[in-house]
């Protein structure tokens, strides 16, 4: 997957539409509510802009598990919502013929008897793939190579999401500053900006410490 401009446009547009739909700025919501709504619309925008992939379907399925999100999802996705939920691939395990699995396990066992050194490495890898499966949406039902594929895709989209949200944020802040009419000139202005930056920095630290 390549992160194209079209993808970013679609992403941004969807995100803004989502903000509008959830009426984030007009309603009087609590801080937590607003944050959740923003995150929800950002995630849905990412899934919609990317199209139909395993992780997007898994993401939307995961989001729709909470009742409060469903109306929003239905609003945004429209008729696609139902069709996306139906195949339910995220809840399937890959059907494997038992005979073949047993046979391959037997072969693996024979090999394992020969070299025990690789066991530790294998269990480490196993553990980590399990964790990765938990992280990537819809990852439970993927096998090794497709999991890596979906991870690649997901990472690219996450990066794009972070960048877009970042630039949104900076432009909002810039507009906020310009609107509030800073009259300082020269160094004063620069100082004002450092104050803003420092506050951001403090917020970030707080957030990271919480984690």
């Amino acid at each position: 997957m390549q992160v194209t401009e079209a993808f970013k446009h679609a992403f941004l547009k969807q995100m803004l539409l989502g903000f509008q739909a959830s009426a984030v700025s007009t309603k009087s919501m609590g801080f937590q509510e607003r944050k959740n709504a923003i995150k929800l619309s950002a995630d849905v925008a990412m899934a919609v802009a990317r199209g139909s992939r395993k992780w997007t379907r898994g993401l939307i399925a995961g989001l729709s598990e909470e009742r409060q999100n469903r109306s929003f999802l239905r609003l945004i996705l429209g008729e696609q919502y139902e069709s996306l939920l139906k195949p339910c691939h995220s809840s399937w395990k890959i059907p494997r013929c038992k005979k073949i699995v047993r046979r391959s396990l037997r072969v693996c066992w024979r090999k394992q008897k020969k070299n025990q050194s690789g066991v530790l490495a294998r269990t480490l890898v196993e553990k980590r793939t399990q964790e990765l499966k938990r992280l990537v949406p819809g990852g439970e039902s993927m096998d090794g190579s497709s999991l890596l594929d979906e991870t690649l895709d997901y990472v690219l989209s996450l990066r794009a999401q972070v960048d877009l949200m970042q630039s949104l944020l900076t432009t909002f802040e810039a507009s906020k500053l310009s609107r509030s009419g800073w009259r300082l000139k020269g160094r004063g202005k620069a100082k004002a900006y450092t104050v803003v930056a420092w506050e951001e920095h403090v917020l970030w630290r707080k957030y990271m410490r919480r984690r």
Binding site: V3, E5, K8, H9, L12, L16, Q20, V24, S25, R34, K35, I38, G51, S52, R57, S83, H89, W92, I94, I100, V107, A121, L124, R128, T129, E131, L132, G144, S145, S146, D149, T151, L152, Y154, V155, L156, R159, A160, V162, D163, M165, Q166, S167, L169, T170, T171, E173, A174, S175, S178, W182, K185, G186, A190, Y193, T194, E200, L203, Y207, M208
Partner: protein
């Protein structure tokens, strides 16, 4: 499906004697006759059912039957598909119908997902027909067409009929015949050389799940589309000798796609054909394992390029660790940013913004250099590309577009609304867990923004030097 086909036994293709090629063609002809005037989509479906059944009938005999029978079968499939296409254009675009057609191909859930994704496209006749053709190709390919060796003149003649169809269709239909020709040639040239997973071919019934496990729906899709590509060449010159050109094309594409340069004679078939390396086990299981391992290592390499700071790391476990950390940090960043946006939000008028952006988006076609761009600004923005933009949206979009670019935007026309006096910043080179870097960047950008606004308001270029020193000081303070 079974009952349906048994009802029409005189017309159906459950003929066990594939050697009787002439009979075959005759039966195809009768089936095609039924295709010529479909009364409804249901008729067409039944016809497709028959084809699907035909496809399913071929596998048990693939290994043992006469090559000609197979190619004819495929040719018949092609023709039927083509005629179906010709009439599909008349039928109302029915996504449900296309879905059902897709179901007839013996794909598993993975590629089914792809098909259903395909159907999400704005419904027009063409995508669904494309999907049907693909499904037909797929079903045709999954049947042991690999065994067919020759394109007999009869099927060529039949294929020529297909050329009379629409141009969009002809490309795809010609592509259908290519897999046979390509695989034909390959089979002829190197039947004994390549170590094939022949354990698979005699038992195709059990193998489709295995094969599906091994391959992505992606590679399958690509392979079928690639075969489509190849066929075009072959149909133009119906001679058998032209298989060389198609084959070498297929070879190159195969090589590039699968990155198996040590297996030059890899035919584009459904099953991955692996040549055992010198001095290695030739057990089918070990071959399969090796294929799987190579796939995984390919993807790990791609991920290595993506995740920052992983170039030196070797080994699956450590790589996976890094990937997990990266994904976690990205997810945390998203949460944090949404929290920040929540604080900013209530002060902004989102509805107007959204409308504005919808308009702006339409105008956007890449970075547009600002006429009022002054040479000093190029020095201020220390990163590589500095496109100038007049709108927030362009700013954001191009921000998002170029990770490594930070921009300063001046709006010298002096709009008094929200879009005015915007210095647009962004473009973090590395939005990963390197927080220190993150903050230096942020500060620089904020300062540059300050400089931008400064210049704008004072409207003189000699402030530039006054502007840079705070920046320098800022850095020192940090």
């Amino acid at each position: 499906m079974n009952s349906g086909s048994s009802d029409r036994s005189p017309k159906c293709f459950l003929n066990q004697n594939w050697d009787r090629s002439v009979d075959h063609i005759g039966q195809f002809g009768s089936a095609l006759g039924s295709f010529v005037s479909p009364q409804s989509s249901f008729e067409l479906e039944r016809g497709l059912q028959r084809i699907g059944h035909l496809g399913k009938e071929i596998p048990p005999q693939s290994h043992f039957m006469d090559s000609s029978g197979n190619s004819q079968a495929l040719g018949g499939l092609v023709i039927a598909g083509n005629l179906a296409l010709a009439h599909l254009d008349q039928l109302p675009a029915d996504p449900g119908f296309a879905e059902r057609a897709a179901r007839f191909s013996s794909f598993d859930g993975q590629s089914y997902g792809w098909f259903s994704g395909h159907f999400e496209l704005p419904g027009s006749g063409k995508p669904s027909t494309a999907a049907i053709i693909q499904s037909l190709t797929a079903s045709g390919l999954q049947t042991g067409h690999s065994e067919s060796n020759r394109q007999i003149p009869v099927s060529n003649g039949l294929q020529l009929k297909m050329n009379s169809a629409g141009p969009a269709i002809s490309r795809e239909e010609t592509s259908l015949s290519d897999p046979t020709s390509a695989s034909n040639g390959k089979k002829r040239k190197a039947p004994s050389k390549s170590k094939e997973k022949d354990a698979a071919s005699p038992k195709p019934s059990t193998d489709p799940p295995k094969v599906a496990d091994e391959e992505d729906s992606d590679t399958k899709r690509r392979r079928s589309s690639e075969k489509i590509h190849e066929i075009g060449i072959d149909n133009v010159k119906p001679k058998l000798e032209q298989n060389d050109g198609a084959r070498s094309n297929g070879n190159d594409e195969q090589k590039q796609r699968k990155e198996r340069n040590d297996r030059p004679s890899e035919p584009p078939k459904d099953y991955i054909h692996v040549r055992a390396r010198r001095g290695q086990a030739t057990d089918s299981h070990s071959l399969a394992e090796r294929v799987r391992r190579e796939k995984i290592s390919q993807r790990m390499k791609l991920l290595q390029d993506l995740v920052p700071g992983c170039s030196k790391v070797t080994g699956k476990a450590v790589m996976l660790d890094e990937i997990i950390n990266y994904v976690q940090s990205l997810q945390r960043q998203v949460e944090f940013l949404s929290m920040k946006l929540a604080t900013v939000n209530p002060q902004l008028d989102f509805d107007n913004l959204a409308n504005l952006r919808a308009e702006d988006m339409i105008q956007i076609c890449g970075p547009v250099p600002n006429s009022a761009y002054s040479p000093e600004m190029s020095m201020v923005s220390s990163y590589a590309d500095v496109p100038q933009h007049k709108d927030i949206l362009r700013c954001i979009a191009t921000n998002g577009m170029d990770f490594h670019c930070s921009m300063n935007m001046l709006d010298s026309t002096g709009h008094q609304d929200l879009n005015a006096h915007q210095a647009c910043l962004g473009g973090f080179g590395d939005t990963s867990s390197q927080l220190g870097f993150f903050w230096e960047d942020g500060l620089q950008n904020i300062v540059q923004m300050g400089i931008g606004q400064d210049q704008e308001i004072v409207a003189s270029s000699h402030n530039f030097h006054g502007g840079t020193s705070p920046a320098a000081q800022m850095k020192i303070e940090l």
